[in-house]
Amino acid sequence: MTIDLQTRLALDPAARFRRVGDEGVVVQQSSAEVLVVNDTAARLIELSNGARTIGDCAGLIEADFGVEHDVIERDLLRFAQELVTAGVAKIA
């Protein structure tokens, strides 16, 4: 599957997320797998409500983090791929 800036993500129904300080913990309950994600990926999960595109999220996160837009977009596309591959996020 192709993930690009127009892709909309949502947390998988069997996944649970909790922010812990500057990181986040995601549990995929169908497999009892657990991921620890960095601040940017945690923010992506928080913003991914099935309606926002990854591009929308990049715009919001850029304002939060003060990082170059290209860098944020590249990081978010990589995180999105990892979250989908791990089964904790799905394409809406």
Partner: protein, 286 residues
């Protein structure tokens, strides 16, 4: 559930049946007490061999024990086989065992009555039951060994093969008090004794709680060392090592929140150890 049952469709839909006997005992465990009824004298003795019993009968979470027919169960070849219960919602199935576990009561159907085996049937129901009830009551059941260093409780978490029993053995060899080497309860930020052991005998275990000081991930290596583990990584470790409830989607957020609470009030560490090493001085000074 075809691994253990000849006809899975005949799994009891209601908590009824023919009791084995008329005796009742109350088991005192975290998440309990558990009031087990329908027992023979031999089954009562078997429970007393393994679990702490209350001297007088009283209230508790009710577990009724009923007869099952040997023809209900498939023969199981156990040579070289690791026993793993089948759990599907309220239903638990294992060797010579069917159980239905609801929020307020449970029932066990079994063929087993002998003193040396019946407690195992009960324990196979109590383990997931204690996990669920502890989580509901503010505690946590963790797959790990535990030991006491300078009156501080250390919980060594990990899956089978991680080295839990090895570390527990190193602690015993050094004269330290240990809890179970398989499953331990965290209640009010203390490690509370449980009789759910792996290789250790119940008589080897500490009987009083100890304040939880450090949650430890185990790592086999060529030298003994310890290093900090971040709070998020400690949360991850606790969730991965919370058996039975970490695959229950209805309990997921509660489990995650509980793991965060526990990890924020205890320290987290990674212990690298040798099988014949000496980890006790490292843990004493941590």
């Amino acid at each position: 559930m075809s691994r253990f049952l000849r006809s899975p469709s005949l799994f009891p839909a209601r908590m009824s049946g023919e009791p084995w006997g008329t005796e009742t005992v109350v088991i005192e465990l975290p998440g309990g007490p558990f009031r087990v009824s329908g027992l023979t004298d031999e089954q009562v003795a078997s429970i007393g061999d393994r679990f702490p019993k209350r001297a007088t009968a009283g209230d508790g979470y009710d577990i009724a024990v009923f007869r099952a027919s040997p023809s209900d169960f498939q023969p199981v070849e156990t040579k070289g086989w690791e026993y793993d219960l089948e759990i599907d919602g309220p239903a638990i199935v294992g060797m010579d065992l069917m159980a239905r576990v609801e929020a307020d009561r449970a029932a066990i159907w079994t063929t087993v009555t002998s003193r040396d085996a019946f407690w195992g049937v009960v324990e196979n129901v109590l383990r997931p039951l204690v996990a669920r009830r502890l989580l509901a009551e503010g505690g946590l059941l963790v797959h790990g060994a535990a030991a006491v260093f300078n009156e501080r409780g250390f919980l060594f978490c990990g899956p089978s093969g991680a080295g839990k029993s090895t570390v527990a053995g190193l602690a015993i060899a050094d004269g330290r008090e240990v809890f179970s080497d398989d499953l331990n309860a965290i209640v009010d930020q203390s490690i509370v004794p449980l009789p759910f052991t792996g290789d250790l005998a119940a008589k080897e275990l500490r009987s009083a709680p100890a304040p939880l000081h450090t949650i430890v991930a185990l790592e086999k290596g060529s030298s003994d060392a310890i290093r900090p583990l971040s709070v998020p990584q400690t949360v991850s470790l606790l969730v991965r090592c919370s058996p039975y409830v970490n695959r229950d989607s209805a309990l997921g957020q509660t489990l995650l929140d509980r793991a965060v609470d526990v990890a924020r009030t205890a320290r987290g560490a990674v212990l690298t150890f040798r099988r014949d090493g000496d980890v006790c001085p490292i843990l004493d000074s941590w």
